[in-house]
Symmetry: C2
DNA sequence: CATTACTCGGACAACTCTTGTCCAGGTCAA
DNA sequence: TTGACCTGGACAAGAGTTGTCCGAGTAATG
């Protein structure tokens, strides 16, 4: 029960991409965060498949957010990386064994599964309430001075 | 990001243990659910270490709940199996790279981590609201007739 | 318009963790 | 004393994650 580390990378990338005027290559994003560029590229592909970022190829290619930051929720990013499936999978063990319940009585999920699903929904609801724009705003108030601005400029600078 | 399958087993065991008058051996619980007895035993050991069940050794040994069902929450069981650590681990990548933030500015967790922690807390809060007694009550209304009673009797029966 | 350099994209291994099994040791009731 | 049961650890298999590589495509450039 541990979230993939790629979620953290992807969220940080989305936050800094809000301050980039031009497409940012995966290599530059990896350099900024000091992570493996090839592995980060894989996660960026997931974001691309989910439609959160658009990739442009060629010499000045890279990644750009497709929507405005307030229209991208943290849940969007998490589900793009982790997948939309629930954290709990019910194997219907109530139907198994000598005291197993008959299948026709198990149309609805059992009480245990319903509880776990409710918790999963509460988790997702919390993530849905926060947008990338909210994160950017919070980062702005967390530190003295503007920290995201210089990062955005560094991302589109000529070289490192 | 998938919950261990042992959580499902443990929860079902706790529910049926509420209807067992005497200690129930792990073998019998495994037989009831048609799962590996040796692997289930490992999870029951986790419940024992967490203090949710008491194990008695010897010929008529087995597992019994230590507290009344309404004093055991679903979260207790989940944390006994999965551990109490958060689902999200922050690696502080904001401090890394050429634009890394200085450590003295990172006393508090970053905005991303705070959001993930909040979602984690919401998940746990939901699980904490539901007790084993609640599950037993819900199971009673889910089906026609009493399904847990016969199971409790079967658990303490002489043989299968 | 051809070249070239740069990018993404998906297929390919190495690794870690979870899942599952097994056995020796200790304990209690009959 | 015997048999059944729990405890703890060591051990193997499988899945999922982490990480790497090379080919296809695209845009700038001369």
């Amino acid at each position: 029960m541990k979230l993939s580390g790629g979620v953290e990378w992807a969220l940080h990338c989305c936050v800094v991409l809000t301050r980039a005027a031009r497409p940012v290559p995966a290599t530059r994003l990896a350099e900024l965060h000091q992570v493996s560029s090839t592995y980060l590229a894989k996660h960026l592909q997931s974001l691309s498949r989910a439609g959160l970022v658009r990739s442009t190829q060629g010499k000045t290619g890279g990644y750009v957010l497709t929507r405005s930051p307030q229209e991208i929720t943290v849940l969007d990013v998490v589900e793009a990386i982790e997948g939309p499936q629930s954290t709990y999978v019910c194997t219907e063990i109530r139907q198994r064994g000598p005291m197993g319940a008959p299948p026709e009585a198990c149309a609805a999920p059992c009480a245990i599964a319903r509880t776990m699903y409710a918790a999963d929904h509460a988790w997702r609801a919390t993530l849905r309430e926060v947008s990338i724009a909210d994160l950017v705003r919070t980062v702005g108030t967390d530190y003295e001075g503007d920290v995201l601005g210089p990062i955005g400029e560094w991302l589109v600078a000529a070289d490192s």
